[in-house]
């Protein structure tokens, strides 16, 4: 089964998606469809040909270390842009071979650390990043991945120190985006936006610029500033037409404004091109909010298929699948087990929060509260975490406390969730 899924890969998922949405695809305007097609091939033609060239090179010379490492890094980059998890395995294999055959050890180890992090194996990522740093203590990139890994393991002081170290010799885009994230986690949204704006000014390719603009837009959205968010997303599309993450972000804006049909159309287009679990989930939730339950259920089945593909390619998905099931009232006990497992593997504040939610949904409200407290310990102004805490307090029979958390969530972002913002508002009536 695993082998089959690996072969199917993204093409398979997209074919499945096309079957569901075939009718809808024909609704797209010509321009939209054209950009949709080109965006699917948005591994740029030059990059695609570079990968093809390198594949031929290493086929002819299987012990060409430097070329193997270059190919491995290109696969990792392609996975980043297309969300095709089968590239993680390719990247890992190429990088490991490159390491064996005399390629640049620092680059190989940093690349392997990045692959591990993409698969949510953060302990491995931290170890590999440390090895890379021992080889070249002055190079920046490994500190970024080290910090990423430590942050996901819940070791925030160490992670932030790694980010500061990365930024110490002068801050470029990779460093600034991490400084921004750290500030966001510490509840300093305004300063996070300042750092992300600086990063935007430093982007050197359309993809980097678009990615950073979407991050900026998300910071604004999560702070209830929808107009600023929309402006950033539109700027991302101006720089990189058809950029899936920007399109998905605009779909979220549509939904926030109650334009559910438009949101559905955008999400469908995105999922057809870049089948990531969170976009399929968002599509499903939007369909549900629009009272299109049957289509929503079809979409949720697609989510399962996508997540099985990720799992088959070595990505740990317990946290994401647990949250999905909990939000949709499915397999609650199993979801709790998965949430626990994810928490043990990587006790970040996100894992604490999902575990808290799982405990609540399984009736263990006291335990839930302990984890929710830990999830909010950094002072992050995170509406969803605040909402979860409100539900937990309600379960514990403290409606007053619950209401203040619901109000807190809506104060951070009144559009924090299609499913749950209405619940919070209802509770405050």
């Amino acid at each position: 089964m695993r082998g089959k899924l690996l072969v199917a890969g993204v093409a398979g998922i997209v074919a499945v998606a096309a079957m569901f949405f075939g009718g809808v695809l024909s609704e797209l305007s010509t321009a939209g469809k054209a950009s949709s097609d080109s965006a699917r091939a948005r591994v740029t033609p030059a990059q695609a040909s570079r990968i093809a060239v390198l594949e031929r090179v290493v086929a002819r010379s299987p012990s060409d270390g430097p070329s193997l490492i270059e190919l491995g890094l290109d696969y990792q980059q392609r996975a980043r842009e297309t969300a095709d998890p089968t590239d993680y395995g390719r990247a890992e294999a190429a990088l490991r071979r490159g390491l064996r055959f005399g390629g640049d050890r620092y680059l190989a180890l940093t690349g392997l650390a990045a692959v591990a992090a993409s698969r949510h194996r953060f302990g491995v990522a931290v170890d590999l990043a440390r090895r890379a740093i021992r080889i070249d203590p002055d190079a920046e990139a490994a500190y970024g991945i080290l910090g990423d890994g430590l942050v996901e393991l819940g070791r925030y002081d160490e992670g932030f120190a790694a980010f500061d170290h990365m930024a110490a010799r002068g801050s470029d885009l990779p460093a600034l985006t991490r400084v921004s994230y750290a500030r966001e986690l510490l509840g300093r949204r305004r300063q996070a936006i300042v750092a992300m704006r600086m990063a935007v000014g430093m982007a050197s390719t359309p993809e980097n610029a678009a990615w950073t603009l979407v991050q900026l837009g998300n910071l604004e959205f999560d702070g209830n500033r929808l107009r600023a968010a929309e402006a950033a997303y539109r700027q991302a599309l101006a720089v990189f037409p058809g950029y899936s993450h920007a399109e998905a972000a605009l779909a979220r804006i549509d939904a926030a404004h109650g334009r559910l049909a438009a949101a559905v159309r955008r999400y469908r287009d995105v999922v057809a091109r870049m089948p990531l679990p969170q976009y399929a989930i968002a599509l499903g939730d939007t369909l549900r909010a629009a009272d299109r339950g049957a289509e929503a259920r079809e979409t949720y089945r697609l989510v399962g298929a996508i997540e099985r593909l990720f799992r088959a390619n070595g990505v740990r998905t317990e946290l994401e699948t647990a949250l999905f099931d909990l939000d949709h009232g499915r397999r609650l006990r199993d979801a709790l087990a998965r949430a626990r497992k994810a928490y043990v593997q990587a006790p970040s504040i996100h894992a604490e929060d999902v575990l808290a939610w799982a405990l609540l949904k399984n009736g263990r409200c006291q335990n839930a509260r302990a984890h929710s407290v830990r999830a909010l310990r950094l002072g992050t102004r995170d509406a969803l975490k605040l909402f979860h805490r409100g539900m937990i307090e309600r379960c514990l029979g403290r409606p007053g406390t619950a209401r203040s958390f619901f109000a807190g969530a809506l104060a951070v972002n009144e559009h924090f969730s299609l499913l749950y913002a209405p619940v919070a508002r209802e509770a405050l009536r």
Binding site: A117, P206, H350
Partner: protein, 475 residues
């Protein structure tokens, strides 16, 4: 400094030092911070060469020209992004005009990226495309310039900042004849002149440095046996190579050039003939802002941190033989005293002696100290600066001798180490001067006396870059 090793890594394909992704997007949060780029796609703030000289363009001899070359070893065919300045870097020329080793005047250059034009509208994530062919930097004919860099120049003097120029456009990489049918015409549009007579250029040029790189760094494995010596006739011929390969031929570089009336630099504000203090010291430096996460709500002080400096050529490679070159780069020129040992006992001299078996002057080199670190022999202060004596007239291009003070038939006084011009053979001079009398007498060198195309005699004094279509340096 030349990141020599990088040149060969880059030759494999620039984006090899590619974006190494961070984490996969999280299901719980829409495309969050995750999957952040881990490595900048730009080369680091790497200065490969710094030139300073009195202009030898007829009619401009009263001006001082300073050029900073960055991103060494640009492979011309490196599409689709080619090569660009780094917007997170502040590039600066720093000048000392009162001989105390500290900079008195600074020219700062800063770039910004614009994504625009036809490539954006057509949904092509490419930097340059011939839709239509690019014949202008702005307006009609520039639609194919999908990625454009604008820059500003600021002068800092006595703590006062003056904007010299803003919104200038950097000349893009030479992609090829279909995309840029008349590249030299395009490049000439990037030569700006301000009202005060300052000329500025930023963009791609051909790398003027000529050297048998592989030979030198294969432990001085130069390509004439038993010793790498030139005959007097070969030494006198600046237009032909005696032996070896110029392994920088075919590579480009990014240059920032600025030409300034000398009176704007001198302490008494007088020109080259009238000033009473004609000795300037200068260097090129790159800095980045240091942004910390910070633990106070209003922490917004982000100081600029120097990441590289370059004054005299080859100091970092041949003299400062320390592993902690980053420390050297972060230090100010006037604090060079801590490295004095490297100048007095140059490792390069040891290396020459060991490899060639010819005695070199390996210790007690107060001459090197005085040459590189002082304005006058009696100076107490030591500072690593490229020094230019404005009272020495520039040599017209046709008469320039690459060996400067060691030239056959008499010295060229307007050559390195009195300032530095693009055509000066700093490697041969350094090997001979550092090696000592035996090496000078024997005419040791790498055999490479010239680049593969002649240098121009007008601002910005560096040649047309190789086009990506015409040149691909594949191994």
């Amino acid at each position: 400094m030349r990141r020599i090793a990088l040149i060969f890594a880059l030759a494999l394909g620039a984006v090899a030092i590619a974006t190494v992704g961070g984490l996969a997007p999280d299901a719980g949060e829409a495309a969050s911070h995750r999957e952040a780029p881990a490595i900048s796609l730009d080369a680091p703030a790497d200065i490969s060469d710094f030139f300073m000289f009195r202009s030898y363009e007829p009619g401009h001899e009263g001006n001082v020209v300073m050029i900073m070359d960055v991103i060494p070893g640009e492979e011309p065919s490196s599409g689709p992004n080619y090569w660009n300045f780094d917007p997170s870097v502040r590039y600066a020329f720093k000048i000392d005009n009162n001989k105390d080793g500290k900079d008195d005047i600074e020219f700062r250059v800063q770039f910004k990226n614009e994504f625009r034009g036809v490539t954006r509208d057509a949904g092509l994530p490419l930097s340059y495309v011939a839709l239509p062919p690019i014949t202008a930097l702005d307006g009609s004919g520039s639609e194919g310039l999908g990625l454009r860099q604008r820059y500003s120049v600021t002068m800092v003097k006595h703590g006062k900042r003056t904007k010299i120029a803003r919104n200038l456009i950097a000349v893009p990489s030479n992609v090829g004849p279909r995309t840029m049918p008349d590249y030299e015409d395009l490049a000439s549009q990037g030569v700006y002149e301000t009202k005060k007579g300052i000329r500025i250029f930023a963009g791609q040029r051909q790398d003027p440095f000529y050297i048998d790189l592989g030979g030198i760094f294969d432990t001085l494995h130069l390509r004439r046996e038993p010793l790498p010596l030139l005959t007097e006739a070969e030494d006198a011929n600046d237009d032909a190579n005696a032996f070896g390969f110029d392994q920088l031929a075919g590579f480009n570089v990014h240059s920032i050039a600025i030409e300034v009336p000398a009176s704007m630099l001198t302490k008494d504000r007088k020109g080259t003939n009238a000033t009473s203090q004609p000795k300037l010291g200068a260097y090129g430096a790159t800095s980045r802002q240091k942004v910390r996460i910070g633990h106070r709500e209003s922490s917004n002080s982000s100081p600029w941190v120097q990441v590289q400096r370059l004054a005299n050529p080859l100091v970092n490679e041949a003299i400062i033989a320390t592993a902690r070159k980053d420390r050297w780069n972060a230090v100010e020129p006037e604090d060079e005293k801590q490295f004095l040992d490297f100048y007095l006992n140059p490792r390069l001299a040891f290396a020459l002696q060991t490899v060639y078996g010819v005695p070199a002057a390996t210790s007690g080199r107060t001459d090197l100290r005085d040459l590189l670190l002082k304005y006058e022999p009696g100076d107490e202060r030591l500072s690593e600066l490229l020094r230019l004596d404005l009272s020495v007239a520039p040599t017209p291009l046709a008469d320039q001798k690459r060996l400067g003070p060691l030239a056959v038939g008499g010295p060229d006084a307007a050559a390195w180490p009195n300032g530095r011009r693009p055509g000066d053979d700093v490697l041969d001079v350094a090997v001979r001067v550092v090696g000592g009398p035996n090496y000078i007498a024997a005419r040791a060198g790498d055999g490479i006396n010239t680049g593969d195309t002649p240098l121009p005699g007008a601002f910005p004094f560096l040649g047309t870059p190789e086009s990506g279509f015409d040149v691909g340096n594949h191994s």
